[in-house]
């Protein structure tokens, strides 16, 4: 069995599972965010009274942090009241940040667990060796009632990353290239595992980027085998025992792909699809009105660090705005401590509250018709960050900073090429 199958089998109380089988799994942690008031509604519509196990439930007020409308404020009020009534202690209020970063910051995710959140990017947690998957409101409500959810055991695709990453190229560029080659629906209903020497050398932040973006190829979940880097990262965070699952020798993957990253250039996904990917140089010089740095994909401390490195002592282009959204409170504090915030603000950046911000076109950095944005977030669907006729290019945090500096799409390699 694959490690993912072993996680599902254990959660289902079975000795083994097979691809395609439908299994009922105990959920170790179920998360709800503030877009999903329907979860509470469905809970009561289905006759719910008491949450099955409030210790295994977490509520995030991250998508509307802080509320911009009375309706949003009212939805968040209902979440707080539900949490208090149901003794849900993990109420992550508007000061905390994006659910996925909060989960790892607080050590609530660990290898071998089953994590279900009302958020498609829950695939992120494959980076620590957890089974993480996104669901809708009513599925989450069934977990509130029963502590369990059904899953179809997925086919698993292996993506092996070989070579050495060139300076100026990041995990975001790698995964964009992979999605560009394989397509936005390549992994629908399936799981994606990353292996190879490139992965072995990646930091946890960069591993999270790979796993986070598998959602954009349709994946149900993702996986990176935990190693010494994982365990060191988790050592000071996770305060409980966990079991690292390992894939049995001879496991037969549904498909295997190898990518050599040694000659990869920074990549961009152009409007309006995440698989519309080319070298950034194809679009160089195109004017950019907004550069957006943040989210569960590209708003971690290392992302702010690379932007600060590019922008230190400089000014962003006068026709461009740079919106920065630290992924979480902890990231924000680290950015202050390390001086990235000061560097970026002096360069002309606008900081907003840790959370999802404009990534999903609700508030804090919306785009007007005809504007172009380079973003370190995950999606460039029509209308995703505002007007339907805004043009969104998805790239690495370095590509975002370089666009802000020059007011146009710019290959960031020139600012980073001299590294090591």
């Amino acid at each position: 069995m694959h490690a993912i199958e072993k996680i599902l089998a254990k959660a289902a109380g079975k000795s083994s599972v097979a691809t395609g089988e439908i299994v009922n799994c105990k959920v170790d942690l179920a998360g709800i965010n503030d877009l999903y008031l329907q979860t509470i509604r469905s809970f009561y519509e289905m006759g719910g009274n008491k949450v099955h196990d409030p210790k295994k439930v977490i509520v995030f007020l991250d998508h509307y942090a802080p509320a911009s409308t009375i309706q949003q404020a009212d939805n968040q009020k209902q979440f707080r009241e539900f949490s208090w009534q149901q003794n849900i202690e993990y109420l992550m209020d508007i000061d905390q940040g994006v659910c996925h970063q909060v989960l790892v910051d607080k050590g609530l995710v660990f290898p071998g667990m089953v994590l279900v959140v009302t958020d498609s990017h829950t695939t992120t947690h494959g980076a620590v060796g957890a089974f993480g998957t996104g669901v809708g409101a009513t599925d989450l409500a069934t977990i509130l009632m029963t502590g369990q959810l059904w899953f179809r055991v997925p086919e698993i695709i292996r993506i092996d990353l070989q070579g050495k990453i060139p300076p100026g190229v990041f995990a975001k560029d790698i995964i964009l290239r992979v999605i560009g080659e394989l397509g936005a629906d390549y992994a629908v209903y399936k799981a994606v595992e990353f292996t190879g020497p490139v992965v072995a050398d990646l930091s946890m932040s960069e591993r999270m980027v790979l796993c986070n973006m598998t959602t954009e190829m349709g994946a149900k979940t993702s996986y990176i085998q935990p190693d010494a880097i994982t365990q060191e990262y988790l050592a000071n965070k996770v305060n409980q025992d966990y079991e690292i699952m390992t894939t049995s020798p001879g496991y037969h993957y549904h498909a295997e792909h190898t990518f050599d990253v040694s000659t990869l250039k920074p990549q961009l996904a152009a409007p309006h699809s995440v698989d519309n990917v080319d070298d950034i140089t194809k679009y160089a010089g195109r004017p950019v009105q907004q550069a957006f740095l943040g989210t569960c994909t590209g708003g971690r401390t290392s992302d702010l660090a690379v932007a600060a490195k590019i922008l230190k002592g400089k000014q962003i282009h006068p026709h461009t705005r740079l919106v920065v959204v630290p992924a979480s409170k902890q990231v924000f504090l680290e950015a202050i401590e390390k001086g990235y915030m000061e560097t970026l603000i002096k360069a002309g950046a606008t900081f907003v509250t840790p959370g999802c911000a404009a990534c999903l076109g609700t508030h804090q950095g919306m785009l007007a018709s005809g504007e172009t944005c380079v973003t370190s977030s995950s999606r460039n669907f029509p209308g995703r960050m505002g007007h339907n006729r805004a043009e969104i290019f998805v790239g690495s945090p370095a590509s975002v900073a370089a666009a802000a500096l020059n007011g146009c799409i710019t290959d960031p390699t020139q600012y980073l090429a001299k590294e090591d």
């Binding site: 439908i22 877009l35 999903y36 008031l37 329907q38 509604r41 469905s42 519509e45 289905m46 006759g47 719910g48 998508h63 509307y64 409308t69 309706q71 949003q72 939805n75 009302t118 958020d119 498609s120 996104g134 669901v135 809708g136 409101a137 009513t138 599925d139 409500a141 069934t142 009632m145 029963t146 059904w150 936005a184 629906d185 629908v188 209903y189 349709g218 149900k220 699809s273 999903l360 076109g361 609700t362 999606r379 669907f381 029509p382 209308g383 995703r384 339907n388």
Partner: protein, 167 residues
């Protein structure tokens, strides 16, 4: 659940994400009737005006990809969609649709056989889709017994309510 329905087709392309089905700026709405006012607005602003209860959405591959927002299923249920037939679905949308009792059929090749406005007759048991405008018939993949059970119960809510009361 009716075994056979008929309705007019509204045809969409590939990778219709849930932001197009239900734009992010309306996510704070919670009443299904309000949610229904913005169905498919990101892909076709005139959709709600032209769509009638019982009509059918036909799409290419990966319909409902992207965000897990249940609003995308709620909005289609609110406008009374008879069925959603796509070459493939984003997995969370598919689960959400089935959970709310919306028949979601996977039918590779359907886009080539149907134009907007064609009248379709859909049989959920056999998976047969008949285009009454052209006389052509195409077969969708049969729904699993697990999913048929949810649909014939009117969605997951009545099922869970029943199980919960029994336990």
């Amino acid at each position: 659940m009716q075994t056979e329905i008929s309705g007019r087709a509204f045809v969409f392309g590939i990778n219709i994400d849930t932001d197009q089905i239900y734009p992010g700026r309306y996510l704070d709405l919670t009443d299904p009737a309000d949610v229904g006012r913005h169905a498919m607005e990101g892909a076709d602003e005139s959709f709600v005006k032209n769509f009638q209860a019982g009509d059918i959405i036909v799409a290419g591959t990966n319909f409902g990809c992207g965000s897990s927002r249940e609003h995308a299923a709620v909005t289609l249920k609110a406008v009374g969609v008879g069925a959603v037939i796509a070459e493939s679905f984003g997995r969370i949308f598919f689960r959400n649709a089935i959970n709310l009792g919306i028949p979601a059929l996977i039918c590779p090749g359907i886009s080539r056989y149907v134009h907007t406005g064609d009248k379709l007759a859909v049989n959920f048991e056999s998976g047969e889709i008949r285009n009454e405008a052209t006389g052509q018939t195409i077969k969708a993949q049969p729904l699993s017994a697990y999913i048929m059970n949810i649909l014939s119960s009117g969605g997951i809510k009545p099922l869970i309510r029943q199980q919960y009361q029994q336990s």
